[in-house]
Amino acid sequence: MNRTHKGLANNMSEANLSIKRYPGFFAVTLFCLFLLYAPLLVVMVYSFNDSVSITRWGGISLRWYYDVFNGAETAKFKTAAWNSISIAVLAAISSTTIATLAALGMIRSARWRGKSVSFALINLPLMVPEIVTAVATLIFFSAIGFRTGYASILIAHIVFCIPFAYLPIAARMQGIESIYEQVAMDLYATRAKAFTKILIPLLMPGIISGFLLAFIISLDDFIITNFVKGAGIETLPTAIFGAVKQGIKPNIMAISTLMLLVSVLLVCISYIVGRSGSITPKKE
């Protein structure tokens, strides 16, 4: 049967498809998506529950969202949210800057001794387990007598955001041929000008997606923040964790839904920006 298919060019693609296909794989994919999304959807739905109990469904309402912004715990969560957001912005700006320069040094250089060590160093925060980073950072700050608080959280966040910012920027830079800077420099642009006027605009989608990923990663971090924050300062995840330890309350579900939507929105932006304006659609 396959022999006849081989002779018929028209049927080739169809035959190809059926060989590729495995029964049940689509079902598993759907199941996989179901597992990934079901818990999130359930929490989103229950955040609109008009009931003090988290078990009973009491109809749809926005009361818990109202409670988030005007409830007893509003002040606490507002401060935590402000800390989270400001730390995420500062950490994302710093790590994106550091990562952009590092990507330039890595991608736009020939081979040199220690290049692979340098690559490993940049990606080290991804390799060291989070809890180990958390312990090490706490010990470090305590040993040098640095008071834990806002600044120590920020520093820790910058460190682990670097590889997340680096990866999309480096990937983008790899896709841009160096001919652009070369031409600019042939036309008497300084190296710095060639970088800021030519390479940066071309890199922009990568930089934006690196920035957004770093921002989300910082906003999401719990373990490291929990270790290095010290007393008296909370970010949203640590505040939520503290509240959840006393039981899941409906207002936590409303806050969670809001945070979830912010993350999804940012990832969507990052995805769309990252795909837009590919310069060299080279296939590997």
Binding site: P39, P125, F222, I248, E284
Partner: protein, 311 residues
């Protein structure tokens, strides 16, 4: 690539390495930040693991092997009995490894077919599928874990629906069980399994499965004999990417596992909380975890370069 390595031999910087001479200056910030705030802290953690504990948290600067001794040996309540191997902490590490392993297998069983299915979609729709798989990863891990806890708790929505649908007569007790932890870990790191496998299946040349089919191999034989060996690097990468963070995970075991299912993450965390902590012991436990993880990564890197050398 070829011209690049040739010119390297002649010590001439190729034209496309436009910032080669500036590389040190450009990389300096990254080296400094990561070196000073990650490498130095890890070294300091190593030092701390050999110090004496202070009772209110922190350390006394006196050399001691007490932390490692406590980890591996039992010397009785007053420390005067002959040393026996103490299994308490080794068991916690073993249990964590087992939990991480089961979570990895769960991810593989669900992740492989998913990755395969996505990789065989039309080229245009693949990024969208990949995006669908990755979105949940970007949602806060804490929120995801809390959502899981909310869903599977004894009187949670899952049990309510199953009861109402008449599938079960009694709520399934999931929370604070091993299964809940495995489920939480699986949920935390599934995309790490799907993405590398997807990447290697996408590179797979399907004319090979066609050839196999021409030679009367069944679909599943083709999968076992042709596809799986070819995409093995992707599978191994996925397993490591899931196993490593699972091993030191804190949130899933803490929120879903309860006190009975203590894992490495909680053990370490406890040493730094409040006055009951023991910093040198926490540092030693972290060091042991780090060494295990680095060993796993090293073996992986070794195999990887071997495989590349063979090709």
């Amino acid at each position: 690539m070829k011209s690049q390595s040739n010119s390297q031999q002649n010590n001439i910087v190729p034209a496309n390495a436009t910032f080669h001479n500036q590389k040190n200056k450009l990389l300096l910030p990254a080296w400094l930040v990561i070196g000073f705030f990650l490498v130095v802290p890890v070294l300091m953690m190593l030092v701390y693991s050999f110090l004496t504990k202070e009772f209110r948290g922190g350390v006394i600067w006196e050399f001691s092997l007490a932390a490692y001794d406590q980890f591996f040996f039992d010397r009785g309540l007053f420390g005067d009995e002959p040393a026996k191997i103490d299994w308490t902490y080794i068991k916690i590490y073993g249990r964590s490894a087992l939990q991480a392993l089961i979570a990895t297998l769960l991810c593989l069983v669900i992740g492989f077919p998913t990755a395969y299915y996505i990789a065989t979609r039309p080229v245009r729709s693949r990024p969208l599928w990949v995006f669908l798989i990755t979105i949940p990863y970007w949602v806060n891990l804490l929120i995801r874990t809390v959502s899981m806890k909310f869903l599977i708790r004894d009187n949670g929505p899952l049990n309510t629906w199953l009861l109402q649908a008449g599938i079960i007569d009694q709520p399934i007790h999931l929370i604070n069980t091993n299964l809940a932890v495995q489920l939480g870990l699986f949920y935390s790191y599934l995309p790490f399994m799907v993405l590398p496998i997807y990447a290697s299946i996408e590179r797979f040349d399907f004319s090979l499965s066609e050839a196999a089919a021409d030679l009367y191999a069944s679909r599943w034989t083709t999968l076992r004999q042709i596809i799986l060996p070819m995409v093995k690097p992707g599978i191994i990468a996925g397993c490591i990417l899931v196993f490593v963070p699972s091993l030191g995970a804190f949130l899933a075991p803490d929120l879903l596992g309860g006190a009975k299912n203590f894992m490495i993450g909680s053990l370490i965390e406890e040493q730094f909380k409040g006055n009951a902590g023991n910093w040198p012991f926490g540092a030693a436990s972290s060091m042991i975890l780090l060494i295990i993880v680095l060993l796993v990564l090293l073996i992986y890197a070794r195999n990887e370069s071997h495989a590349q050398g063979a090709r």
